[in-house]
Symmetry: C2
Subunit: 235 residues, 2 copies
Amino acid sequence: MAQTTSRASKTKRTTQTENQIYDSIRHAVLTQKLPSGARLPELTLSEIYGVNRSVVRRALVRLSGDHIILMRRNQSAVVAHPTREETAQLFDARRHVEAQVMRKTAGQLSASARAEIESMVAAEHQTHDEGHHDDRIHLSLHFHERLADACPNQVLAQILQELILRTSITVALYKVPGMAACYRAEDHRGIADAIFDGDGERAAQRACEHLDYLEQRLTHARNDAEVDLSSILNS
Amino acid sequence: MAQTTSRASKTKRTTQTENQIYDSIRHAVLTQKLPSGARLPELTLSEIYGVNRSVVRRALVRLSGDHIILMRRNQSAVVAHPTREETAQLFDARRHVEAQVMRKTAGQLSASARAEIESMVAAEHQTHDEGHHDDRIHLSLHFHERLADACPNQVLAQILQELILRTSITVALYKVPGMAACYRAEDHRGIADAIFDGDGERAAQRACEHLDYLEQRLTHARNDAEVDLSSILNS
DNA sequence: GCATGGAAAAATGTTGACAATATTATAACT
DNA sequence: AGTTATAATATTGTCAACATTTTTCCATGC
């Protein structure tokens, strides 16, 4: 039932090109290549992807529905730039939802899923040790998303996926600049082990602590930046 | 910050006409005038509302993002028709989210909000006694939405609003036909009182019991129907 | 140097047309 | 009657053009 062509795209319209655009922008935001506040003019995007504005538009409307970008009348879409207040609410909501997803997922993993997650944790450690921060961020997000995928309750899981993306935006916006993107090596390991053991309550606890740690590392200063779209959006 | 022009429309594009269409369809689904599976051709809608298809389209894409309608390539949009499995997941998710919203909202109501909710509960009892089921359904949904509005965490509240709408669709689909739309007179009263008393845990408990009752009343048989759009969508 | 005003440019809003696809109706056949 | 093939219709997909609005830039004045 759950179509997997487009990451967490729920169930909706699927011109292949539209999905590509949706995924491309989503991915760029997720990996923090597109910073908060970056403008996304329809014409520029339609030239980059070689399609008409109407196709771009649909992708943008979907993204705005996911709170990833912000659309205002007669103005270019911009990557969402949540306030500090909204950030706090996002983390609060995510803790509550993710904890429940952990409880429901614990002990439910197939052998293959388990192996997959194991390798992801290992890969994450490796990229961290080697200093590939961009890759590690991507793997870290993929870890949370992969666990959500395994949750028996996909309604709850999709809600979590959205919250993961939105909190990722806030981290990019409010993290202290020099810091190697908030990371504690043993956090994901601990969560995975609790899930494997079927100990949902411990997994939930670990996930909350993980998110607390992340949130505490945020500052009040915002990191704004300018970007060149065409150099970023070419997947 | 939270714009209230369009019920739970999050923050997004807002051609007035587009919002009207969005709200109109949303309302028709919510009040069960548009049944599950009903087709929503773009041309028909654009004639009804007197606008171009592109305007209708944007409203439809937003609705599909909310899981209210389903869009498939080259096919007309249709009102969502969740499976029994998805229904169970929806109720499970809603219980978990709504319980938390109750906890956070308890004791936070202003005097005016309190009075407003009081009058809503009273109105609900009255319409029930008088047998105006359609009105009562509307008031009942409004009760839950009004409480969500009062929640300090609006991220969580908006997630709940979406779940309220989606569960409403499942109720329309799976309720036993003759039954006067699942209703226990004292449920909302008990929830409201707990909120007023600042007893979040009791409010959460009552909300869960309320939802359990609702869910248990659903059958496996689906209620399908045919409809004439133009006679419904004229608000 | 700075604010103000207005023209030029850029971007979105809206529309209608045509192409591609899906749905429905019709006809032929068993 | 029921089933299949085919034609007709309905519906969405994509596009380009123009209208409207916002943004940017530059000249003017103080």
